[in-house]
Subunit: 334 residues, 2 copies
């Protein structure tokens, strides 16, 4: 007895900006789960900017995706058949087996969702990896103090939007950069103090300076490039730069010049620190408790941009690089 | 009763590399010290790369030098007349009143040298600001562990040479970059494991890679520019970059592109942190005790490059930017 499921495979490695032709849809026949295994049908899958890095054939913190193999990523599914004592039909589970409609897995690779009154896909966003990225990076590298000015680039993305709201909850003033007025309007509705539309503002430095006239104490970087140079220019002494991502460079086919004012790191005693979310895995339990409470108290909001069907997963992923998403970009599978 | 002393004043602000014409020698008549004051004749003065920054007319961590006024910097002098109860004729004192043969000061601005059996000018070098810079930056930002590979640029300078030896004393493997084979030979004589002559090595990346085949855990940056880019390339995950200085950029008249591989800060979870020595002033007592002991035990060596006479102070300063000095650059005044 097999079950047919579709999946997205990496057909060719992108050169520069990924295109639809780098992906292919395939159908596989899943066997019935053996002893200790579980058959899961995915309801939601995540697409995230970091996945671009795994499409290069080079060593990094995660191994490269393999050509002809299904991609991987966060997913929320429902147990359809279980031969594992810890899982029952109907259980909602989290896995790294995204980019496919379903899968058979050993139970140990799955995690049951907590029994909280939140939509399951939140565990791919504000309560999942992007949320923990925001929460832990801000805490461990940013060390926010009440009154600090926090500048966030890519502020309307899944990570950025969480950073903005957590920083507000920590008593900070938040200046957000995003690529549309609609995104900025939403960010203001959740408490962001000032916003810059980097696509229409003209001189980015002067626009951010106007929004942060006393300078920046913390920069949460999702973008790199010009935004990083502007943040260096406006940084106050002892500012902390949380280097979470540099989406502006993920598709570069050649090396671009770095920030021309990197010397400010010395004179202003800046700290610029990169991280990946697994560095701060020890904060996960604390994060889930505090974030869940914020959600229940109405203190944490999020947006979702949803594509439907596994066949549209590449489109969802490609949309990250043109910023079509507001908030968490998801693919609904079930 | 006045005493004639000569001093060096800033005549014009350098544009690019400073030249002799930016400085002028002047003679002043010092009054007799009033109550609470001390007349000091300087024996030694320091020239340091950071002084270049104070020649720009812009706000920074130290106020800019003023045109027509004497420059400032570390100096060691001998008390010639005292109207302060804490100082007696003959006392050796440290001050920030360098660039002059002598001065009258309130006693509170002076610090008596400890009574240790070390040459007094060491308090401008290995036991002074450069030594504390090396000691505190390595400890607080570098967090060295035995077995770490430490890459040091500007390794033959006053700060760099101390960093190399402290890192060895902390159990690290040390790779040094300097601008002459003679400097590297001296560095090897004090325990440095591998050296790169950046002026003759050809491809700096490949030369440093050969000297640090397992990558870099700590980079102590005195230079910036190409050295920083190379260190980013060779950094191991979680490497620490101690951003002490970027002498390669101090005389730039226009902004130069930054490191093209700055994105590694994210993927490798690097920490890049700038500092000035006063950030870690709390380590000063501990530093003096430990460094003095190392000197007495023969575990810490240093070189000095000495110019004689206040009239040669500008020449000594200019020499820092072509690297004519091995070790601490000093001007002998008394």
């Amino acid at each position: 007895m097999t079950t047919k499921m579709r999946e997205i495979r990496l057909k060719s490695r992108p050169v520069g900006l990924p295109v639809a032709e780098n992906f292919e849809l395939a159908e596989v026949a899943l066997p019935a789960p053996a002893q200790g295994e579980v058959l899961v049908r995915n309801l939601w899958m995540s697409v995230d900017p970091y996945m671009r890095g795994r499409m290069y054939d080079r060593p990094s913190y995660a191994p490269p995706f393999q050509l002809g193999e299904p991609l991987q990523g966060g997913a929320i599914g429902r147990v359809e058949q279980s031969n594992h004592p810890d899982f029952a039909t109907g259980d909602l589970v989290e896995s790294m087996n995204g980019w496919r409609e379903g899968f058979v897995s050993i139970g140990g690779a799955l995690q049951k969702l907590p029994n909280e009154n939140v939509p399951p896909q939140a565990y791919l966003g504000v309560l999942g990896m992007p949320g923990l990225t925001a929460y832990s990076g801000l805490a461990r590298i940013g060390e926010p103090k009440p009154g600090d000015t926090v500048f966030v680039s890519g502020a309307a993305g899944a990570v950025g939007a969480a950073v903005c709201q957590i920083a507000r909850l920590r008593g900070c003033r938040v200046v957000a950069s995003a690529g549309s007025d609609a995104k900025l309007s939403w960010l203001r509705s959740v408490g962001v103090d000032a916003g810059v539309n980097y696509k229409t503002c003209g001189n980015l430095l002067e626009a951010v300076r106007a929004a942060a006239p006393n300078g920046i104490d913390i920069y949460f970087d999702n973008v790199g490039g010009d935004h990083l140079e502007v943040a260096l220019e406006l940084a106050r002494p002892f500012a902390r730069f949380i280097e979470c991502g540099m989406i502006s460079a993920y598709n570069d086919t050649e090396l671009k010049p770095g920030p021309r004012n990197i010397i400010y790191v010395v004179g202003k005693s800046l700290k610029m620190q990169g991280f990946i979310v697994t560095n701060y895995w020890d904060m996960r339990d604390q994060f889930r408790v505090e974030m869940t409470q914020w959600i229940k108290d109405g203190k944490m909001k999020w947006e979702e941009t949803v594509e439907n069907g596994i066949e549209n997963a590449p489109k969802a992923f490609l949309g990250l690089f043109s910023g079509v998403n507001s908030g968490k970009m998801l693919v609904k599978l079930g």
